[in-house]
């Protein structure tokens, strides 16, 4: 099992801004939450995209009931924006070369996604069965 790093102490020392690495685990909810949290998306040593940040974001919103700003940094592009927004990100560090206006279009790739996630408490795939 990967080493578990408790960030609670770090949080107490730095209440406004926190950066989480994908391998971090949340631990107990701290008394005060920062206004902004960034989660990094590096490439794995195996050469594949490291998707732990998706689950970490979901857990932050769910387990800590975190309502502050959540920023995605690292190896992200237009084609990830839809998934990132669904799990709870609201800021996205994109390369300078990408047009921000154009990027907005990519949030709506799938207008009616099947599953519940951070953005949708209900499961459409189930709800649509009873319509």
């Amino acid at each position: 099992m990967p080493q578990l790093i408790n960030r609670t102490q770090v949080l107490a020392a730095s209440p406004t801004e926190l950066t989480l690495a994908p391998g971090d685990s949340l631990g107990a909810k701290p008394a005060t939450l920062p206004k902004s949290i960034a989660i990094d998306f590096p490439m794995s040593p195996s050469g594949a995209a490291d998707g732990r940040g998706y689950t970490l974001a979901h857990q932050l919103r769910r387990d800590w009931a975190y309502t502050g700003t959540l920023r995605a940094t690292g190896v992200i592009g237009l084609d990830h924006l839809h998934y990132l927004a669904r799990v709870g990100f609201d800021e996205f560090e994109l390369p300078d070369t990408l047009d921000a206006q154009k990027a907005l279009h990519y949030f709506d790739t799938f207008k009616e996604p099947y599953q519940a996630s951070t953005d949708k408490a209900r499961s459409l795939l189930l709800d649509k069965l009873l319509r």
Binding site: S46, L124, L130
Partner: protein
């Protein structure tokens, strides 16, 4: 079979538009090869030895006649007039042009089909029993559960960049034809004394480099928890699965390293957040999902005249009788049978079918099987609703096209990946070995004399030919730049009700291509001399006597 609603259709259509736009950006140079690769992979598009290979999902193996006609049309329009049915209920095209793939996907979408998540580090096509819904030994029809899993896993936002690929299989019968214990997640559906459906969830099975039998993580879970429990298993894997080494990145390694208890505890710690929440599958949901599977209306009264006619044909035509014995399977309705059309014949790679064969099989499905076809992990096709009165006519038609080899479960029903002839991952070719074996074992009498025997061939350790669960497994290995073949014995995915799957064991040093057929022949001959009667199958003898008698025979005479 399941019928899409407008949301299902909108999602598949949106995917076509998304992939078209991504491919345009790549062709214009706005996406690098490294950026485009994971995007195309999650649409089943590999770059292979000669051309891109496109893998199209056949969810839990179910096809309509209309869909099979479309697969045939695609083979003609975008490929070289054939397709390859794989061991995971997919079809693969070996020669499409990258620039044409968006149009190909648009054609597929018109018949409710897609290539979503057929490759890449994501949840792949969910597989199941090829006889789902018709099997005589079925306890629970797995198809509605498979469809729930298909939709839940389609574009799941949390699980699109997993440590590695992820395969889910579902079984609902007494005999596990879905091989659930060699999948990342295997779901076994059963009923308790009250008739309620329970799930046994096996996690961490798999073939490949480190073959492992899955462990029972969730036992007797109520069916309403299907999606929330799977969510939690995936979340634990996404969070803790290894990403430092792609060969240790599958969930089986995590389960092994953590141990079953710790893994289960991690799943349950996450599950408390969603258990009984909005993704709980209520009885009304399952009822509605079952209603989406529009099953054909079958004759309820026993057709004794047709049964009598069948007996007459069977007595008069020994080769028809042999076909009935091997390729025709009992059905829940006594008037019907599930019929295997064998795609194992000399001169054709196992699982390949031409466009004209696909059209013909689709026409037979229309005429004789209520428009439905199934794709099997043994790389054959099944017509699941054939009335007893139509069996003889169907057999005559299949025979005329060379699709009536009575070899299901026998020596010539060889399962093989495309291997080094097509696949850029392969260490060695699979197809010449399959062809050599098909040439050597070309006589019906000999197939029947040898009896039940599964031969599986993989061209590399990725194990797409499932050699670990072949009674005889053949694995292509690279030895100083040359193609060699390792032989395993005694593997199976569970042959009898309740039987645990087993992984084959290596008999010894590997062989050159030209030696393989001789070695298999020696192994089979040794079996024939060891069996106590023709009722003792090959796999039974290997279980009884172990590997030694086979090793002695193979290696003693090789020198």
């Amino acid at each position: 079979m399941y019928q899409y609603d407008e949301i299902d259709q909108a999602i598949v259509d949106a995917r076509v538009a998304q992939f078209r736009e991504q491919t345009e950006r790549f062709l214009k140079g706005e996406l690098s090869e490294d950026e485009y690769r994971p995007l195309r992979l999650q649409n089943g598009l590999y770059v292979q030895r000669f051309a891109p290979m496109l893998r199209v999902a056949i969810p839990y193996g179910v096809l309509s006649s209309q869909q099979l006609h479309m697969l045939a049309d695609i083979a003609d329009k975008y490929d070289r007039g054939y397709g390859h049915f794989s061991t995971r209920q997919n079809i693969q095209y070996n020669w499409p042009e990258l620039a044409h793939v968006p149009d190909l996907l648009a054609d597929l979408a018109t018949v409710q089909m897609h290539a979503i998540q057929t490759s890449g580090n994501c949840i792949r096509n969910t597989t199941s029993d090829q006889y789902a819904g018709v099997a005589a030994d079925e306890v629970v029809d797995p198809r509605p559960y498979c469809e729930l899993i298909r939709q839940w896993s389609t574009f799941h936002p949390e699980f699109a960049a997993l440590p590695r690929k992820f395969k889910i299989a579902v079984n609902g019968a007494l005999i596990d034809r879905a091989a659930i214990k060699v999948h990342d997640i295997g779901v076994n559906l059963r009923k308790n004394a009250q008739g309620e459906v329970l799930l046994d969830v096996y996690v961490g099975g798999g073939l490949g480099r480190t073959p492992i039998i899955g462990q029972l993580i969730g036992e007797g879970i109520a069916e309403r928890h299907l999606l929330t429990y799977l969510d939690s298993v995936m979340r634990v894997y996404n969070q803790f699965g290894r990403r430092d080494n792609k060969y240790k990145a599958r969930i089986k390694i995590l389960v092994k390293e953590l141990g079953v208890e710790a893994f289960r505890a991690a799943v349950e710690a996450d599950w408390v957040h969603s258990k009984e929440g909005p993704s709980t599958v209520l009885p009304a949901h399952l009822k509605a999902m079952k209603a989406r599977f529009i099953n054909p209306t079958l004759d309820a009264t026993l057709d004794t005249a047709a049964q009598a006619q069948l007996a007459i044909h069977s007595a008069a035509e020994p080769s028809f009788a042999a076909w009935l014995k091997r390729n025709v399977v009992a059905h829940q309705n006594p008037n019907y049978r599930a019929v295997n059309l064998s795609l194992k014949r000399r001169g054709v790679p196992p699982g390949d079918a031409t466009a004209s064969e696909m059209h013909q099989i689709a026409d037979w499905a229309t005429a004789f099987s209520h428009n439905e076809i199934r794709v099997t992990h043994e790389q054959n096709l099944v017509l699941p609703y054939v009335h007893v009165r139509d069996l003889f006519t169907l057999w005559q038609g299949a025979k005329s096209l060379g699709l009536a080899q009575a070899n299901i479960g026998l020596v010539s029903n060889i399962i093989a990946c495309p291997g080094g002839d097509f696949c850029s991952l392969a260490n060695a070719k699979s197809l010449p070995i399959a062809e050599d074996l098909l040439s050597r074992y070309d006589a019906l009498d000999e197939w029947f004399d040898i009896g039940e025997l599964d031969i599986n061939i993989s061209g590399c350790i990725n194990s797409c030919g499932h050699h670990h669960v072949g009674h005889i497994g053949v694995l292509g290995v690279d030895k100083h730049g040359e193609e060699w073949y390792q032989i395993t014995l005694g593997g199976h995915a569970g042959n009898r009700p309740g039987q645990q799957a087993a992984l084959g064991k290596v008999i010894g040093p590997s062989f050159k291509q030209e030696e393989v057929v001789g070695v298999v022949e020696k192994i089979i001959n040794r079996y024939l001399s060891l069996r106590d009667s023709e009722h003792e199958r090959f796999i039974d003898v290997v279980e009884r006597v172990g590997l030694e008698p086979f090793k002695e025979h193979v290696y003693a005479t090789t020198d």
